[in-house]
Amino acid sequence: MLRRLFKDFRFGVLPVPGRVIAIVFFIFLFVFPLITRNSYYVNMMINASIFVIFAVSWDLLGGYTGQVNFGHALFFGVAGYASGMLGEYLGWPLPATMIVGMLAGVAAGAVTCFPALKLRGPYLSLLTLAFPLMLVPLILYFRDYTGGEYGLNQLPRIAESLAGRYYICLILMIVSVLIMWKLTDAGSRYVRTGLIFHAIREDEIAARATGINTIRYKMLAFMIGGFFAGLAGVLYTHTQGGASIYMLTLTMSFQAIIWVIFGGIVSIYGGVVGVYVLYPLVYLSYDVQTFFENIHRAIPRSMGPLLNIMAFLEKLTIFPQLVLAVIVILILLFMPEGLAVLIRNKIERECPRCKLTNAAWRKDCRACSASLR
């Protein structure tokens, strides 16, 4: 067993640079709390791993199945609020509320998909956009139960210690990303969903003509998306210790889409890369600002234009959303396939004969020695 694992590692992982990078990165994630004990940074990484689940669940629904959902925050928020309110008012234990919260996410997915089954394209996007926005006023109106603008506070947390929370979120993230990866794997011999999701995205009418019950599989996609987004929402609620209407805002929905598009749509790892690059960028904008300020002070007063540039950069760091908007525009214009996919295509190449991935700098395939040039 161990020998087989070692063999897999030696011949399946080491020769492919993308997999090596992934392994190194996950080892880094596992030792991260040992590197720094600063709760500011550990909290950032906890949120990042939660948002990975959220972003990847959007990719499954919006990327793979092609149901471009502009209201993914609905599942996130509904699950968080359901879990929080059950614990607060009915006194249920934490694991029970979390499971019911996730099921609430699934239910939200089911409710969304019934009208969504009839629509496509911009109409679908507009419809899904409306749902979380309809819920926000209701939450404000029933403030006695939901806490209104202040949200629910002082909810139980999944673990008391910071490191405990970190590892629970990290492991759940890895497990759910692996599950979603397998579910969307079009070449899989065991699960058909991946292939069918692809078929629905490419041509729904053709998929239906070949005998696939597309309605059932679209519902399935919405429910799986709802389940994992619900998991993310529940984890977010119970690591922050509270639920707020921020979880249902447009910003939340769009963040997921921006992360996925940045990393690479229709590739599960794209969402992972997108979150781990962009989320710290926005989160650490305050640090960047102090960094710029220090440089600013170090510059001698005689260099006028440089001082102005630094002052402008400092001002930019107060508005990270501005930088994010520019990044989104540039990404969509110049590399629509996404950062992670672009890098992967640069460092890996598929063998034309046996379809095995090779490092791009090899002359011939590592299995069948066919020429790669």
Binding site: R120, P122, S125, M134, Y141, L322, A325, I329, P336
Partner: protein, 299 residues
């Protein structure tokens, strides 16, 4: 009460209709959902505020300031279309994202300069008129008049001029229009310029009423415009007018609450009801009341 309801509907409806016509037109012609449409309004209002208000010490006269802000925002819209939107036009998801990014960019840039101050300038015409016991600000009457003039102008342009007929041809069938010697890319650029100009004029007109509290208000306005256009039918001018009236009436019902259904806090529920109306229309009749659905958009 009936007079209040009616006047609210007409006055706010005219603002909404002005905003919605442009949004509807660009969708109808180019199938672009321009989420930055209301951001252009807010931008125009703030440019005007910057040029006119004594706070910023430029203090241009009103007429040149209005012309400058409308022209500048229209040019910005053209540039945004030419260099950003046009390149991703084929994929509707990318168009939605890129226009939202443009809107956020505009919002944040405005916040950088103005923080959260309201774009409030002096009324164009001070004072109010009393109509059957209800006070109406003269500015609202000006907006009503301008809306009527602009929408009539757009309608005449689309139905009488050669260019307008070309725009409608592209909206109907881009490929056949291209075969008949119309350049779709040029028509789309013209439509985009026209709709941005409409947005800018709307922003300038609305600025004195203080409806733009902060640069971030574009989101609320966008929501209203989207609902109107979906109810009326994406791409139909008649639809936007009817939709605007419907939405303004629902809002008026929520605000004055003649049946005393909700007690306090009805204002919160306003957007829920308005959005619910949109969802119902989308489910029952995706094309809206007066819109048309292309064959490839059906399922």
């Amino acid at each position: 009460m009936a007079a209040q309801l009616l006047i609210y509907t007409v006055m706010h409806g005219s603002v909404y209709a002005l905003l919605a016509v442009g949004f509807s037109l660009i969708f109808g012609v180019a199938r672009i959902l321009n989420m930055a449409h209301t951001a252009f309004c807010v931008l125009a209002a703030y440019v005007l505020y910057n040029l006119v208000s004594p706070v910023w010490r430029i203090e241009l006269g009103l007429a040149p300031a209005i012309i400058i802000s409308v022209v500048a925002v229209t040019l910005l819209g053209m540039l945004a279309y030419k260099f950003v939107i046009d390149r991703v036009r084929e994929h509707h998801g990318a168009v939605l994202l890129v226009t939202i990014a443009l809107a956020i960019f505009a919002e944040q840039a405005l916040t950088m300069r103005f923080l959260n101050t309201s774009a409030s300038i002096d009324y164009f015409i001070t004072g109010y008129t009393v109509v059957s016991g209800v006070k109406i600000l003269n500015d609202y009457i000006l907006i009503l008049g301008m809306t009527a003039v602009l929408i009539t102008a757009v309608h005449l342009f689309l139905s009488k001029t050669k260019m307008g007929i070309a725009v409608r041809a592209v909206a109907n069938d881009t490929e056949v229009a291209n075969l008949m010697g119309i350049s779709p890319s040029r028509i789309l650029l013209i439509t985009m310029t026209m709709t941005t100009a409409l947005a800018a004029i709307a922003g300038v007109l609305v600025a004195p009423t203080g409806l733009f509290h902060t640069p971030a208000t574009w989101g609320n306005w966008l929501l209203v415009v989207m609902v109107i256009v979906v109810i009326g039918g994406l791409g139909s001018i008649k639809g936007s007018i009817v939709g605007a009236a419907v939405v303004a009436f629902v809002e008026a019902l929520c605000i004055y609450d003649p049946l005393k259904l909700f007690g306090s806090g009805t204002a919160y529920l306003m957007s829920t009801f308005v959005l619910l109306a949109m969802v119902i229309v989308l489910i029952v009749r995706p094309a809206g009341l007066f819109g048309t659905l292309f064959e490839e958009e059906k399922l």
